[in-house]
Subunit: 146 residues, 4 copies
């Protein structure tokens, strides 16, 4: 894919995450996050954070997107865009928490999975899942030892 074309696809993924963020349910933290997840064949699934009065029953936007996609039969992903923050217009790129990195790990190639930390469609950083969760604990750790 040409670079300009790739950049436009990233911008579109960020816009989709921004739209998803509008449905965040965050009455306790006020911190609202949206995510857009692309499968290896180009389908896009979205998620937003959904909190709970018992905080540990909360789900983040990134995980919500992965869980929904997996329940639709998807098993391999290649990119996720994340936008979030406390203000209406986020100024800080929101990094995924460790729990979400672990959930992504189950279905992604760490070295190839692209994680887009975005403030908006014109301002983002890109990292791999390997960079965000090095030396990860994954399915092969359990399988090797079974």
């Amino acid at each position: 894919m040409k670079k300009a074309e790739d950049q436009e696809k990233i911008r579109q993924l960020i816009r989709t995450a921004m739209a998803a963020r509008k449905n965040a349910y965050a009455p306790y933290s006020g911190f609202r996050v949206g995510a857009a997840l692309e499968t290896e064949d180009g389908t896009v699934y979205t998620g937003a954070n959904v909190e709970n009065a018992s905080y540990s029953a909360t789900v983040c936007a990134e995980r919500n997107a992965v869980f929904h996609a997996a329940a639709c039969g998807e098993r391999r992903f290649r990119a996720i865009a994340i936008v979030g923050g406390a203000e209406e217009e986020p100024r800080h790129a929101c990094s995924p928490c460790g729990v979400c990195r672990q959930v992504l790990r189950e279905f992604c190639s760490p070295k190839e999975m692209r994680v887009i930390l975005a403030r908006g469609p014109e301002e983002w950083r890109e990292m791999t899942l390997e960079e965000l969760l090095p030396e990860s604990f994954g399915p092969e750790n359990l399988q090797v030892k079974r």
Copy 2:
């Protein structure tokens, strides 16, 4: 609604949960669950369980459906059908775990929410969320005390 009509709607919700169950990702437990969640205005969302090599990062089918529906902007539900078990054709009605009951609690009226524990479209039990999670801890517990 007439009783026959209501029963047919329940059967349809169970069939939807059974279809959702096909996408369960349960390589560690082999226990596969599907859920179909109906909003107060009749829209249906589905979920399946999605496990993780680090077990605590797993999501159940019921929660997956609630999280996805909430990320689509839904905030009020009236019924959920659940089918699950280790075998291809479940013989035991699968009861929701405590975590899922807690997640349902955030968005449901405990006394009105219908939880359908099903083995198939012709065999099910119905309980309210109040019956499954009495004396629950919910949003008002935090709000009252703030």
Copy 3:
């Protein structure tokens, strides 16, 4: 055990939970909970809630006590006292969330496990785990089907 003796043991368990509550780490909710868990042979373990900036990585007081006791080799419990609330002196008895009921379920006989919801050593209600988590999903659900 005579009734008066039993009541004094409950009061002592509540006092232990109140002391444990002082160490709660709840910077996000301001809701502070303590728990005291008694094993079948009378040993008492304590817990407090410990929150996390990523809300879902939070642990409640009740679960914290169970997890610590289990890591000390305990496997069977008979009573837990819970005190909590937003104010310095709780006025509302704090009910365990669904997640904690699920964790207790792993190690308790639902019909015999006593759950003490306390405002203080002179004011409490007692319920069984069975009453708080009827029709529960537990170890035998997985084992039966394996």
Copy 4:
């Protein structure tokens, strides 16, 4: 501290984690993990993994140690040793999952927190939390935006 003295302290922390591992409750995965956590003033707390029939209600060894230490009033840690695996004598160093990295993050300086991935008291690797969870989401992310 002299290097030899430091190495002996690490070995002792690993031995403590190995002892803690004996109480792991892992009937579903068969994967048993122990952890030993050292506070900034040198006190050591331990943890083991505790699983649940509803997998998501599971706790890992590392988190169990942090949660218990926090409930004892501890707020700052400087090192954690982790040993684990499916076999009686682990041959693979067990890396902490993303959830545990997130829980450590709440109470540790990422650049200074030492994480010891050990196969035994004579064979280990050391990483910082920053190396294991770069670009982390922590308390300041929520506080900045409040």
